[in-house]
Amino acid sequence: MLFGIEWDTSSTLAFAMSIIPILLVGGITTIKATVIGFLLAMVLGLVLAGLKGMPVKIISWPASFVLEFLRGTPLLIQLFFVFYVLPQVTGWLIPAFVAGAIALALQYSAYCAEVYRAGIEAVPYGQREASRALNLPPLHTFTYIIIPQAIPRVIPALGNYVVSIIKDTPVLSAITVLEMLSAASIIGDRTFNYMVPLTIVGAMYLILTVFAATLVRIIDAALPKQGIPLK
């Protein structure tokens, strides 16, 4: 049994049916990791992108380097680093799930920063010129002219990364977070039947990603192409 649920090894079908609830419990952790990790990533990505865009080199260069470094190194190693090194260095006890969420956030913050940059650059330059000609203050221009037009461009790309992060969550099993893949592994270890749990888990990820992709498409369709309307 796992998570307090017994499985039924009488037949393959019975086995499959009985482990679905167990795997779904793992799925909850998967979803939690996805949501928390990606929200953190969006915020961290915004901060890093902002720092990178500063005209002051002392700030923008380290920010650039951090972004490049996060993009160029594997999630797994970042995960180990957060889980094993941070507690040593800071003395904090970091639970496995938290370490996992932080690692996901770090890895995906780099992707989000790139998406933000591309979205802002895609806003036609004439908009900035018109703002300047009208003497609108730079901050006002950024908040009310540039950002509302950048958002519709940014949503589809962010959506792709949400789908991506869902598929990266199984990495957390390497530091004993009990999500879907760990659950399947444990069932496999105890019943010596890996194929059934793994296949079901594979299908579950497929369902999750299709669901997320559809959600993104709905949000994207609801947003007008020209920008968030301001009356």
Binding site: R71, F81, V89
Partner: protein, 224 residues
């Protein structure tokens, strides 16, 4: 210095990572073209399996795919009658190739579709067959478009090779873990490994950039 020692001990792992990257990238490229062009085919006997492959390997987690192949391959081997043990590295390379192949297939498909409709009309007017149109007109123009996304996929693939450590393949990540378990020196070891991957990804990005330039050379001719 300690870290030079560590570096020496990680060397076999580095070599494994490099090999994995090379093999899976090449096999992945083959898959990309095969299934990408397959999805474009009008023959549903080709289109359906291609689309299925892409959906499955793009829509599910790479690590799950690796685990699945890791456990499934021996069973499959047994069923076909191969008694010898299939090394886990085959599962690793297959999973990596299938994954990058599925993503790459979409890149190929997108780039071919992005070739302007006018080109196809001109080809039709000159009575090219569909196959000639594809190979002589569409692909040469689609290839430069594919390079930037392929570059990103190659780097992603390099990072993904680290996952094979979780199915017992002795790559950089695996040796790093083993070393760490022996010495408990997490900081040095993980820092070294992070920088190793970082430098490798920079180098790979550089190589892909060179490749992109070579493929795109016909584009720069035209303006005097």
């Amino acid at each position: 210095m300690d870290w030079l020692n560590y570096l020496e001990l990680l060397l076999p792992g580095i070599w494994v990572t490099v090999q994995l990257t090379i093999y899976s990238t090449i096999l992945g490229a083959i898959f990309s073209f095969a299934f990408g062009l397959g999805k474009l085919s009008n023959n549903w006997l080709i289109k359906l399996p291609s689309a299925t492959f892409v959906e499955i390997f793009r829509g599910t987690s790479l690590l799950v795919q690796m685990f699945w192949l890791f456990y499934a391959l021996p069973i499959i081997g047994h069923a076909i009658g191969i008694d010898a043990r299939i090394p886990p590295i085959i599962a690793g390379i297959l999973a990596l190739s299938a994954n990058i192949g599925a993503y790459g297939a979409e890149v190929v498909r997108g780039a071919v579709l992005a070739v302007s409709k006018d080109q196809y009309e001109a080809a039709l007017a000159m009575n090219f067959t569909p196959r000639q149109t594809l190979w002589r007109i569409a692909l040469p123009q689609a290839l430069p478009e594919m390079m930037p996304p392929f570059g990103n996929l190659a780097i992603q693939n390099l990072k993904d090779t680290s996952l094979v450590s979780l199915i017992t393949i002795a790559d950089m990540a695996f040796l790093a873990q083993r070393l760490r378990n022996l010495t408990a020196d997490s900081i040095t070891i993980y820092t070294i490994v992070l920088f190793l991957y970082f430098f490798m990804s920079l180098f790979l990005a550089y190589l892909m950039g060179l490749l992109a330039k070579r493929i795109g050379t016909w584009r720069s001719t035209g303006r005097s």
